[in-house]
């Protein structure tokens, strides 16, 4: 693999990390598999695109996408999911129904054309890294991925909220019994996870472009990452994203028509030996 392809894989992994970390945060703490996550990604991209083209500001687009998607997440969590209780299957299917509605609404508003979020002037063009000329924007995506990883790591390991989230992943009932309002922690996590999907949508929208089935592709990659990495583990998402991002790039170069197989093979092998993923822990719940 050339340096150029390696960078492609790494930048794609960084994008996947941003999206999948939101997915695994929600899955890890709330035990909710939010199948609307892909739709939130796509919608975040569209909303970010709309704001960025109107205001001419990429940063505003990012903030707007995160805020809007967090708001939609709030509706999903407080308006719908609270009514189905703890039943996993009902939760999953409800989020799936929600995803169908979101996708269809996005199709009504933005149509079936593909859009590319405009890249800000200072990130246009390319620069020289590892002896290859590479697009600056994609390096920016890579940097953002690293920053998000660092931010989440600090949040989870060095703040009170992070301590509550980690405790909640291990045993939510115990946290509640010690006098913490775990519902509020759940809500904040859900909003944060959704906002990350929105951010991912804007970032991805600028180099992968936005089109009606983009959400399914991101969702299947996020699922693969969580299956590989394990539930609720930040390091697991990081390693999973790197694996999936690199394997996907490798697959597209070597077997363009069967690229999915290249991800699927290792995932299958892994599952045979570690059903809970690389960093997953069996829970008492």
């Amino acid at each position: 693999m050339s340096a150029f392809q390696l960078l492609n894989g790494l930048t794609y992994a960084a994008l996947l990390f941003v999206v999948a970390s939101g997915f695994t945060l929600i899955f890890g703490l709330l035990r909710i598999v939010n199948l609307a996550h892909g739709a939130l990604y796509l919608l975040g991209g569209y909303i970010g695109f709309a704001i960025a083209t109107r205001t001419g500001s990429f940063a505003l687009g990012g903030l707007g996408a995160m805020a809007a998607i967090a708001a939609i997440g709030l509706v999903l969590d407080q308006g719908l999911l609270r009514f189905v209780g703890d039943n996993e299957l009902r939760q999953v299917l409800l989020t799936l129904g929600f995803a169908f509605v979101l996708d269809d609404m996005a199709l009504v508003i933005w149509g079936g054309d593909s859009f590319t979020v405009p890249i800000p002037q200072m990130l246009k063009g390319g620069m020289r890294v590892f002896g290859v000329y590479y697009p600056t924007y994609r390096l920016f995506v890579l940097a953002t991925g690293v920053v998000v990883f660092a931010g989440l790591w600090l949040l989870l390991n060095h703040t009170r909220l992070g301590a509550l989230i980690r405790a909640g992943v291990d045993d939510a009932e115990m946290v509640e019994a010690s006098g913490v309002n775990i519902r509020r922690v759940f809500l904040v996590t859900f909003l944060l996870g959704s906002a990350l999907a929105g951010l991912g949508g804007l970032m991805g929208g600028a180099f992968l472009s936005l089109y009606p089935s983009a959400d399914a592709e991101i969702l299947v990659f996020s699922l693969a990452i969580v299956i590989i990495g394990g539930r609720g583990s930040l390091v697991g998402v990081g390693v999973g994203s790197l694996l999936v991002g690199l394997l996907n790039t490798l697959g597209q170069v070597m077997f363009p028509e069967l690229a999915y197989f290249v991800i699927f093979g290792p995932m299958a092998l892994l599952l045979a030996f570690r059903p809970l993923g690389l960093f997953g822990k069996a829970t008492a719940a």
């Binding site: 009514f83 509605v101 299956i227 028509e257 999915y260």
Partner: protein, 330 residues
């Protein structure tokens, strides 16, 4: 007295339903006959999902892909490779069963939400292959080809053929879930650890259950290929799996024959909605949300809840047995 494993009352009821179903095309327009055919085909798909969901406690979100693979193989084998319809159907069902075997090998080690995730991811891989492997699958354009033999081209003839096939596989599925093997699956659904400690090989039972379920989904897919003469990535897409699951749930998890009720309800809804708006997907999504919140026991479950006030237990409907609804309803 028992007739083909049924009580005589049940046998009479089945016979009445079959006679009505067989007489339907004499009364309906061609368009309605097509809808009825579609309901039968998707009823089989919903039942195949129910084998796993209602009787083994594992809901698959990948059965649309198994169904679709059969469809693809049938169309490819007959239109591209020039095989006879019978051979094409056979190959299609075999291919679907093989896909189910691969899915099962990976999925039987998981349960609960991981099973959902894994079957969903596997189904999406199949979709990705159908979309990208353009040389064989035709990519987004899909594959087209007249698969039906000449004597089945007419609407009525085809409906009767599908009805016959549906009756046969429904009976087979019913016998399967009532067999000692099916009862073992039920035991696994209710308590995996207890079955394990009784000496049952749980993964092996789940594996076989999945493969059998995939076989029946493959039959539905082959019938669909004959019905539609066309397959495209949307035939194997997540939405197909999801519609199958929704039909199964709408009919009532664990009721098996509820699959036909669910299929009829969803297809009728789709048909009515499509007359007024192009936003079927939104309506489907909303239906999903509403059923999950208000009627997780399905239409039959709801009717049963209403009927329970008037009659004591009905012999034709199995006890509610699923993980979907509230545990304290029964």
């Amino acid at each position: 007295m028992k007739i083909a494993g049924m009580t005589s009352r049940a046998a009479v009821a089945v016979l009445v339903v079959l006679v009505i179903a067989a007489a339907l095309p004499l009364l309906l327009s061609n368009y309605r006959i097509e809808l009825a055919t579609e309901i039968l085909i998707f009823g089989v798909l919903a039942m195949s999902i129910d084998i796993l969901s209602g009787f083994a406690g594992r809901t698959s979100l990948g059965h649309g892909a198994i169904f679709g693979v059969s469809g693809y193989v049938v169309v490819y084998a007959s239109a591209q490779a020039g095989l006879s319809p019978a051979a094409a159907i056979l190959l299609g069902v075999i291919a679907a069963t093989l896909v189910a075997v691969v899915f099962a090998l990976l999925a039987v080690r998981t349960s609960g939400v991981y099973f959902l995730l894994l079957t969903l991811a596997l189904g999406m891989i199949v979709w990705g292959i159908c979309l990208r492997w353009t040389q064989v699958t035709g990519g987004e354009n899909g594959l087209r080809g007249d698969v039906r033999p000449a004597f089945l081209v007419g609407h009525r003839a085809f409906y009767w053929a599908v009805l016959a096939a549906t009756t046969l596989v429904s009976y087979a599925m019913w016998r399967f879930v009532r067999s000692p093997f099916g009862l073992t699956l039920l035991g696994i659904r209710d308590s995996e650890s207890r079955m394990k400690s009784l000496g049952y090989n749980v993964p092996l039972h789940l594996f076989i259950g999945f493969a059998v379920s995939g076989f029946f989904a493959g039959v539905a897919g082959a019938l669909y290929a004959l019905f539609n003469n066309f397959v495209s990535p949307s035939t194997v897409a997540l939405q197909q799996s999801v519609e199958g699951v929704l039909m199964m749930i709408a009919g009532g998890v664990g009721t098996l024959f509820g699959g036909f009720v669910g299929a009829a309800a969803i297809i009728a809804l789709e048909n009515v909605v499509s007359a007024y708006t192009e936003r079927w997907q939104t309506v489907l999504g909303l239906t999903f949300i509403v059923i999950m919140i208000f009627a997780p026991d399905g239409i039959i479950g709801m009717l049963r809840a209403i009927l329970v006030f008037r009659f004591r237990s009905s012999p034709h409907i199995a006890e509610p047995r699923f993980e979907l609804g509230n545990k304290d309803t029964s």
